[in-house]
């Protein structure tokens, strides 16, 4: 039985590649990053967006999961030379690869999420992670009176520091004398997929008194969520809505509506008439970032907490609260 599915997969693969080399098609393409398509987080959000687009429009798209860094250039070049349009890429790791290839394929429209590449045929989408993280930080501080709050990031890069910095400011906005524990699972891309180390970091933070930990670590974050659920404490998910993973333990999730961004890109970026190159910032306005509230965590967030956090959100939108963005000066004044 397994053998037959195996052969089917093989023959399917051969048929597909024959099809791809045969005809140039202007279908959109999506390249996931190293965390993997089903990381229940950043990449899975993109996949969900692509699937939603497929359902709405009946169109087809191609996608590809990277296995290692060396495949980036090769994967992007393959899609571009096959005529895929637009090509959507996930993660900040694309900057150096995309810049030369965008010049080489001037007729292809590229959309890159979480990175900024300055070229006439590239749309760079950035999310205001700092403001969304600010809100979940505020919720963490309202939920726990321990005075110590944890943060576990994936790879130690400026983007993840941006999450941390927003989160820390949110915590301090509610509890000015709070102590923060800041950890990262590693310094290589493998750090996105290391739940065991992330779980150990969470245990260490619990031992230091943390009752809530925000995990901004892609696939590694699952280890944090599991550890906190085992210990009967709270965690905060990231990118996708991860509340359902451990109901009663995941306090909320810092949602980045990557899915909406992918739908938008698939719908409009393929046609030069509707394609908007340049840098686009998606933030609290339009709810592109924010805290997730659903049936899995509605018992954890009281009406009072929600009204307080909504008030903070209104103040950020009106400019009354300025959330410092780590990436403007690579520092996090608290």
């Amino acid at each position: 039985m397994k053998f037959s599915t195996f052969t089917k997969a093989i023959t399917g693969g051969i048929a597909l590649s024959a099809l791809l080399t045969g005809a140039a098609l202007a279908e959109p393409a999506l390249i996931y990053d190293l965390g993997g398509k089903f990381d229940k987080s950043f990449n899975e959000a993109a996949y969900n967006g692509a699937e939603a687009w497929k359902k709405q429009t009946g169109g087809n798209y191609q996608d590809l999961e990277l296995q290692n860094d060396a495949q980036r250039e090769q994967a992007l070049r393959r899609f571009a030379s096959q005529g895929a349009n637009p090509i959507v890429m996930m993660s900040f790791m694309w900057e150096s690869v995309l810049a030369p290839l965008a010049a080489e394929f001037p007729d292809t429209n590229f959309v890159v999420i979480d990175a900024v590449v300055d070229a006439p045929n590239v749309q760079s989408i950035r999310f205001d992670e700092h403001t969304g993280s600010f809100l979940v930080g505020a919720l963490a501080a309202m939920k726990s009176d321990s005075g110590t709050y944890g943060f576990i990031g994936g790879m130690d890069v400026p983007l993840i520091h941006r999450f941390y910095c927003g989160y820390a400011q949110g915590v301090k906005a509610v509890k000015a004398d709070a102590k923060l524990i800041e950890n990262y699972t590693g310094t290589t891309p493998a750090a996105w997929n290391d739940p065991v180390t992330a779980g150990e970091l969470a245990k260490a933070a619990i031992d230091s008194g943390a009752e809530v930990i925000f995990a901004a670590a892609g696939g590694s974050g699952l280890g944090v969520l599991q550890t906190m659920a085992d210990a009967g404490k709270y965690s905060i998910g990231v990118d996708s809505n991860q509340n359902y993973l451990h109901p009663g333990s995941v306090l909320t999730s810092m949602e980045k509506r990557v899915d909406n961004a992918v739908i938008e890109a698939f719908t409009n970026a393929g046609d030069d008439a509707t394609f908007k190159p340049g840098k686009i910032n998606l933030g609290l306005q339009g709810d592109f970032v924010g805290y997730a509230l659903d049936e899995y965590n509605k018992d954890l967030l009281t009406a009072d907490m929600i009204s307080q956090v909504e008030a903070l959100k209104a103040k950020i939108l009106s400019g009354e609260i300025q959330v410092h963005d780590y990436e403007t000066d690579s520092s996090c004044p608290l």
Partner: protein, 321 residues
């Protein structure tokens, strides 16, 4: 640093050394019998996948453990067939096992569960819980020894206790039983063993199977005790660190335990030192994460002296014609 912080580091040390110790003892059996095994990593990974997959489907951690051991023993037998019966190069057989396991686990995981090679998250019965030893709560109030017993020694996964129990058992088997004597002999001078009328091939197969069982325990520890489900490459090079520990310990069980505890301790320390400050300057994360490796090099170069492995290691045995 107070008592609580020290206990919490030592507690993490036990958790982090367990898979190293199991893999290290696994390698010890195989290498003492004259079969170099750099396939520890692959066998652990295969076991981690087998255990998580079966635990996810059946919802039973014990069935998962059995499956993990089964997969690992089968992989070990395959490696044994290549290295012992077919007289292939032992190092290459090990590398092949590592590559096979890394690719096959992800491929099968994707075919069966459709979650990008990951297995579904396990429910409470699909994982081993922690065990509280008797009287742990009662003696917690006793000064010094109380917290050591209740926090450090009690409250671990069952596989942690199994791993540390395997140390005296291995020492006994190796130095006090007929099997152990023959095992050591076959790694030093297989011709003498053969002359005495004992089958070198059969002995080496037995050793490799024991290696498989222990790697199975180590792999299952990753996916159904410490973790909750299989993730791609989740063993993260621990098999190679175990191999280094084995050389470090000069292929002896009790030193192997201390070496693995040292590596586990450095790892635990690294996790807790993140964000630490020295003279008001924050130590970079990269420096702290490199600490275990730097110390390993220093210890290896400075303290251990010459490590000489079993004399017949790495060579397939051929009877004279």
């Amino acid at each position: 640093m107070d008592m609580g912080a020290i206990l919490s580091i030592l507690d993490a040390t036990l958790r982090l050394s367990t898979p190293l110790l199991l893999a290290c003892l696994a390698g010890l059996y195989s290498e003492r019998a004259g079969v170099f095994d750099i396939g520890l990593e692959g066998k652990m990974l295969a076991a981690a996948f087998g255990a998580a997959a079966v635990a996810a489907v059946t919802g039973s951690a014990w069935l998962g453990l059995l499956a993990g051991i089964g997969v690992s023993v089968a992989t070990a037998a395959l490696q044994g067939a290549a290295a012992i019966s077919l007289k292939g190069n032992q190092l290459i057989a090990g590398v092949a096992i590592n590559m096979l396991a890394a690719g096959l686990c992800t491929f099968l995981g994707q075919q069966w569960f459709r979650q990008g090679g990951r297995t579904p998250a396990l429910g409470p019965n699909g994982r081993f819980g922690t065990i509280d030893l008797p009287f742990a709560n009662e003696v917690a109030g006793v000064p010094i020894l109380g917290p050591i017993y209740s926090e450090l020694i009690s409250g671990h996964y069952i596989l942690v206790y199994v791993a540390f129990l395997m140390v005296p058992i291995t020492a006994y088997v190796l130095y006090r039983t007929r099997f152990g004597l023959r095992l050591r002999a076959v790694g030093e001078n297989p011709k003498a063993v053969d002359t005495a009328g004992i089958s070198v091939v059969a002995l080496r197969y037995q050793a490799v199977i024991v290696t498989g069982v222990l790697c199975g325990l180590a792999g299952a520890y990753f996916s159904i005790a410490q973790g909750s489900g299989f993730g791609n490459n989740m063993t993260a090079g621990k098999g190679f660190i175990a191999l280094a520990a084995l050389i470090f310990a000069k292929w002896k069980p009790v030193p192997a335990m201390f070496t693995c505890l040292l590596f586990g301790f450095l790892d635990a320390l690294q996790i807790r030192l993140q964000g630490a400050r020295l003279f008001d300057v924050e130590i970079p994360v990269q420096a702290i994460q490199a600490l275990p490796y730097v110390l390993t090099v220093i210890l290896l170069a400075g303290f251990i002296g010459k490590a000489v492995g079993p004399k017949a290691g790495g060579v397939a045995y051929t009877k004279e014609r």
